[in-house]
């Protein structure tokens, strides 16, 4: 087996890292999104409460 072919078969780190890192980023992004959306919903409710209190 030539050197180029040997590197092609054994150099797996990039593909593994890209797969595992992308999965971690996707899950982290979803969790951040969940927190941000909840914070936005709570802020909207608080604003409505403030408006009611002023009336």
């Amino acid at each position: 087996m030539g050197e180029g072919a040997r590197i092609h078969v054994t150099d797996h780190t990039f593909y593994l890292a890209m797969s595992y890192a992308a999965t971690a980023v996707a899950i982290a992004a979803e969790l951040v999104g969940l927190r941000l959306r909840r914070a936005r919903a709570l802020r909207g409710i608080e604003e409505e409460r403030d408006l009611e209190a002023q009336d």
């Binding site: 593909y15 890209m18 999965t23 996707a26 969940l34």
Partner: protein
Amino acid sequence: MNLFYFSSPATFYRLAGWLAPWFFALGAAFTLAGLYIALVVAPTDAQQGEVYRVIFIHVPAAWMSMFLYFVMACYGGLSLTFNTRLAAMMARAIAPTGAMFTFVALWTGAFWGRPTWGTYWVWDARITSELVLLFLYFGFIALSNAFEDPRRGDRAASLLALIGLVNLPIIYFSVLWWNTLHQGSSVSFKGTSMHVSMLWGMLLVAFGFWMYGIGAALTRVRTIILERERRTLWVRELEFT
């Protein structure tokens, strides 16, 4: 106990808040245990070398992408049949997590395909039908948010989810129906061709993803309930910490 008791958004909001952290904890525990087996215990594959370890994420993510779509469509069907608010909210809550797992399945598949097949992408029946699943998730999310009246969005998106169900058997059986580059199943109800440690690693990660998916859906549905019910008395009286 009357199960319809939990179909009230006010009751389910509290139940989901209590359950979600447990599902996240279980998800983390099972995923970490599975990844330990996947990256430390499982032997190197005789043909693919180390790159085969991508499948410990790829296969569970692909399973979850199909399973979550099925559950989402069931909630959509419930919503259309019984006109229940909570079922429609659950369908909405599941969609982004299902889309995320579908993306992960496609992405990791590409990074497994490059060193093993020599290409990141091929218009193969299995891969193409999985891409269609991602577009179905996007379509569901877009359609559910396309109407000013959220109930109309619920009905339209639920209908799309039910029609899209036809794609699930196409994904699953594509490797049998067509001559695909994607290989057939290594795991089935009849048995497996994998080493036992590889199988356990994959099953643990799959179970972890499943628990995570439930935790994420429960967390998201709580926010959707707050958004939809913000003018109701019970939400106004809620104490937020």
